[in-house]
Symmetry: C2
Subunit: 316 residues, 2 copies
C-alpha cells in the first residue's frame, strides 16, 4: 500500500473518532477546519510517544494508539479543559498494515474514552514515533494553572502511583495481550495499568470547581509537588503514608520517577468535605496527601530523605 | 544541560515568537491557553520535517527551523487562513546546544515572517525530527477547500516551480551558509529557494477574495492539479509553456515531483483582470497555466505524456 492508501485505511478504522459535528473540513484537505465554541479558550498541548521509551519496543499497535492518546489528553484535563480534537503524526519504519490497523483501533478507543476527534495527521517513513497535539476547550479565564497552590490548601492525588517500575519488570516476560482484554484489568494488572493510563475527562468539571492548581504526574511526585507551589515562595508537607501506592510499589520510585498520569491538585481546606463526598460517589479514588506551606520547606512526614535530587525525568 | 535547561534556552532565543497578546498561559504549564477570536474558525495542520528527507542531513539548525515553520504554515495559508500559533515537537540525538540555539533562531525568523507564535512544544531524545502543528484562523465558512475548482475557472500558480532537484544536486558540494545570508538569495540561488520556501501570509486576503479552490504544491504539479478538480467529475487543460519554471528546471520534474510550497489555485475567469492587477502591484508573481474542464480530460498542451503515473510522493 502507498501512503494515500494507508491513510485511507487508518481513517476508515477511526470511524466515529474521525467525525464531529463542528468539524467543517476534515482529513483530506490541506488542513482541518473546526467551528470554535464562543466564549471558550483554546487549550493546546503536544506530546511525543517514543518507541522504547514511552511504550515498549514491539508493543502491539492498539496499545500504542490508546496510550499515546491517553498521554496527550492528560495534559488537557490537567488544565481543567475538555479534550476536543487531536492531530496525530506517525512515523513508522515500514508499511506494516496489521500494526497500523491495530494502532488506529487503539486511537479510536482512546478517542471514545476522551470524547475527542482526530482532525488531522501525518504519516511518514521513519523511526517509529507518535506525536499528538491535543486541543481542548475551557470557559474564558477558567483554565487551572499548575503552580498556583495556596498556603493551607490540601494536596490531593487521584488513583494509585508507582506502577511503572513494576510494569517494566513484569514486561520482560510478557506475552502481549489485546486492548479490550487489558482494559478490563487496569485496576489489578500492573502492565495494564502502565500501558493504559486513566483518561479522566469526567473529572474536568470537578477540577474546575475545586482545584486551585493542578498538574498530571509524569515526572515523579516530588518534582510535580515542586511545580504546584513554584508560583510563589511556598512549600509543602506530605504525609508519606497517605500517598496511594500501587500494591507493592516503592515510595522512593513514586517520588523520583512516577509517570502514572494521575492528577495532582490543590484545593482549599474548606472544600475538604465536598472533595471527600465526590471521591465517594464517583469512581475516581482521591487521596489527601498533604498541605501547602507558606514557607519554602519541603517536608515528608515521617521524615524521609529524597533518594535523588528533585529534577524530573530528563531525556538528555 | 538537562531537558528543562534546554527548553529554557530555546524559549529565550524565541523571544517575541513565544509571546502573543491572546496567549493567556504560555509554555511551562501542562498546556497552552489562548483566547480564540469570535466568529473565527480554527484551522489545524500537522507536518513532520524529517532529517535527510525534508532537510539535508547535517543542515544548519537555523535553516531547519525556518524551513519547518514555512512547510507547516503553507497548509494554513492554502486554506485562506491566517497562521496564528504553532506547537513544535523536536527529537534530537543529543543535546547539541549550538544546533538547538540556531534552530530556535530559525523558528523565530519563520514565525516573524508568518506572524505566528510558538505556544508549546516537546523536546526529547531520538532521531532528529521536527513535528509542527500549525493553527490558523479564518472567518466562519470562508475556508478554501482544495477540490472545489469549477469548470471554466482559470488555474493559477504563484512563484516558480522545480527548484528541488536542482538544489539537491547543488547541495552535494555545498558549503552551508547562514539563514540571514540565504534569505537574500531566494530568488536567484537554487539552494536558498529550496531550503527557504515562501511564507505567503500576505496572500491570504487575496485568496479569500478570488480563489475557488487552493492547495500548496508539495507532491508534484500533476498530482496537485488532480486534487483541484477531484471534488467533481472535472478535468483540466494546462498550457505547459505557461508553467513558471525555476531557471533550468525540467517540466517533467515539476509535474512528477515538485515541493515548492507555491500556491496552486483556481479562480473564475471573470476575476482574470483583477488577479493580473494584483500580480502586478504585489511582489507575488502569478502565472495563469490553464483552465478547469467540465470533462474528465487531463490535457497538457502542447501534448506531453506524463513520464510517471500521477500518484504524488509516497513515503512507502
Amino acid at each position: 500500500m502507498n501512503e494515500v492508501e494507508l491513510i485511507d485505511l487508518i481513517l476508515d478504522r477511526l470511524g466515529p473518532a474521525g467525525r464531529a459535528a463542528k468539524l467543517k473540513i476534515g482529513p483530506g484537505d490541506d488542513a482541518a477546519v473546526v467551528e470554535w465554541e464562543t466564549e471558550q479558550e483554546l487549550v493546546v498541548s503536544t506530546d511525543v510517544c517514543l518507541d522504547g521509551v514511552h511504550v515498549p519496543t514491539n508493543c502491539p499497535g492498539d496499545l500504542v494508539g490508546y496510550r499515546s492518546v491517553a498521554m496527550s489528553v492528560s495534559d488537557i484535563v490537567a488544565m481543567g479543559a475538555v479534550p476536543r480534537y487531536l492531530t496525530i503524526a506517525l512515523t513508522i519504519e515500514h508499511a506494516d498494515v496489521d500494526w497500523l490497523t491495530a494502532f488506529a483501533d487503539g486511537v479510536r478507543d482512546g478517542c471514545a474514552e476522551a470524547d475527542s476527534t482526530v482532525i488531522g495527521g501525518n504519516l511518514a517513513k521513519g523511526v517509529k514515533q507518535i506525536t499528538i497535539t491535543a486541543m481542548g476547550s475551557v470557559p474564558m479565564g477558567r483554565a487551572i494553572k499548575r503552580n498556583t497552590g495556596q498556603p493551607k490548601d490540601d494536596i490531593w492525588v487521584t488513583g494509585k502511583l508507582g506502577a511503572t517500575p513494576l510494569a517494566l519488570q513484569a514486561m520482560a516476560a510478557w506475552i502481549p495481550r489485546g486492548l479490550s482484554e487489558l482494559k478490563q484489568l487496569t485496576s489489578t494488572d500492573v502492565i495494564a495499568r502502565y500501558l493504559l493510563p486513566p483518561i479522566r475527562t469526567s473529572f474536568v468539571e470537578f477540577l474546575r470547581h475545586y482545584a486551585s492548581a493542578c498538574t498530571d504526574i509524569t515526572d515523579g511526585l516530588a518534582f510535580e509537588l515542586d511545580r504546584l507551589v513554584s508560583g510563589a515562595p511556598n512549600g509543602y508537607r506530605i504525609e508519606t503514608e497517605e500517598i496511594p501506592l500501587w500494591f507493592s510499589a516503592e515510595l522512593d520510585d513514586v517520588l523520583a520517577n512516577d509517570d502514572s498520569y494521575e492528577m495532582l491538585f490543590t484545593s482549599s481546606a474548606e472544600n475538604r468535605e465536598a472533595v471527600q463526598h465526590y471521591a465517594k460517589k464517583s469512581n475516581i479514588p482521591l487521596s489527601r496527601i498533604g498541605t501547602v506551606l507558606s514557607t519554602l520547606d519541603r517536608e515528608f512526614v515521617p521524615f524521609r530523605e529524597l533518594r535523588s535530587p528533585v529534577s524530573g525525568f530528563s531525556h538528555f
